[in-house]
Amino acid sequence: MNRYLELILYRAYADLKAEAARGYLGVLWWIIEPLLYLGMFSVYFIYVRQQHDGRLIPFLLIGLVAWKWFASSIPHCARSIASGVSLMQQVYLPKYVFPCVAAATNLAKFLMVFILLLAALPFFGAPPTAAWLTLPLLVAAQFFLILSSAGLLAAVFPFLPDLNYIINNLLMLLFFLSGVLFDLNKMPESFRPYLSLNPLAVLIADYRTVLLDGEMPGWWGLAGVLILSGLLWAAALRIMHRFDRIYPKVLVR
């Protein structure tokens, strides 16, 4: 296990460095895209819907940054086993290595953007508070949620190549169901229980509670996210283990 952890970390470092060296905008897109969305949605909310309570911009920014992390990681991790085919023909690797590398590179990019977000928040009237100390926990929970759900997708992806399209459409749907654009707590009472079944919505609401209100995250919701992620990861590992030495055969066509 230890050797594979080292391998995951070194490979993630190598991938990040290669991406930076390629000279693509790389991590810059992680900043540009949320800002573009921010511009679009601010115009919509302020000029079209005539809503502006001063908190709108940091509110949207937090949601968009957390969303960007999730939405970029899922397809990348989900494809990871299928696209690791040439490597796994040459050396034996336990297949969890592939989604772990993808999740780790995405975590590193997110952290860079997240630190910028934290630095910017005081200018929007949200200075650091003691509640910010819980942020590592929130980030860890989201990381685990990404790894486990994408890991499960990665485990079945080699058998279902069409999953690609389904994932993209589901992400679009999830964007609107995760409270990136609205406040969960302001939804009609009858709706709320359903929305809070969405772990990503729970996390995004928690980020805002911590960063904007300076209050503690909802512990029960967080525990729920962790339990769900644990179950998903257990299922993912089981499938990867079952097909460990079958994937290299299936993926050759």
Partner: protein, 237 residues
Amino acid sequence: MNEPKRTAMTLRNVGLIYRRRAKIKDNAFWALKDISFDLLHGETLGIIGRNGVGKSTLLRIMAGIIAPDEGEVVNLAGQASLFSLQVGFVPHLTGRENAMLSAMFLGMSRREAKAKLPAIIDYSGIGDFIDEPAGNYSSGMRARLGFAVAFHADPAILLIDEVLGVGDAEFKQQSVAAMKERIRSDRTVVIVSHQAEMLAELCQRVLWIDRGRPKALGDAQDVIDAYLRATAPKPAA
């Protein structure tokens, strides 16, 4: 010194099926069937056969990369690895980073890889270019570095698919010589090839595979002679 050799790996009735779901009929065919043998510690076993008879697939099964659909493989020796060149190489990383990554893919811990790095770099003869991006290397330099890493990996059972030496003429000679020396030492090695002379030179025993089935297994020269007789073009009648 004359004690009987221990078994390094046992294959019993190994079979592998490939399914092609192209047509309505599910046409499956056995790429390998009924392969059984004991690989002994320190021996060099050759596997011969025409192209596409499943030789490389058999090596992948022995390396633990693919599971057989039938039969079993018991590895008693430890790590069995393909002799793989330039595993995981990324053009945008430096030669040094690529060597580290490749060595770790080939089974070394980070510490072991780091410790072997000077020897690998020295062996590759790349010199100061080692800290340049591998994308700037000539294909010959990449081949040298890839070989140097793979050569230092040194698994308990070495599985070689055709390629002994790589690179420009000079390095090819050097790398072939190094491989031959390693094969002749008391290492456990399996070589797949359709070059009869090379197998006759290096192996004690040879397994002949024909259309996925074992045709003969025994003394290298005997099996190779039989193989050459069977595959020699028939004189025109």
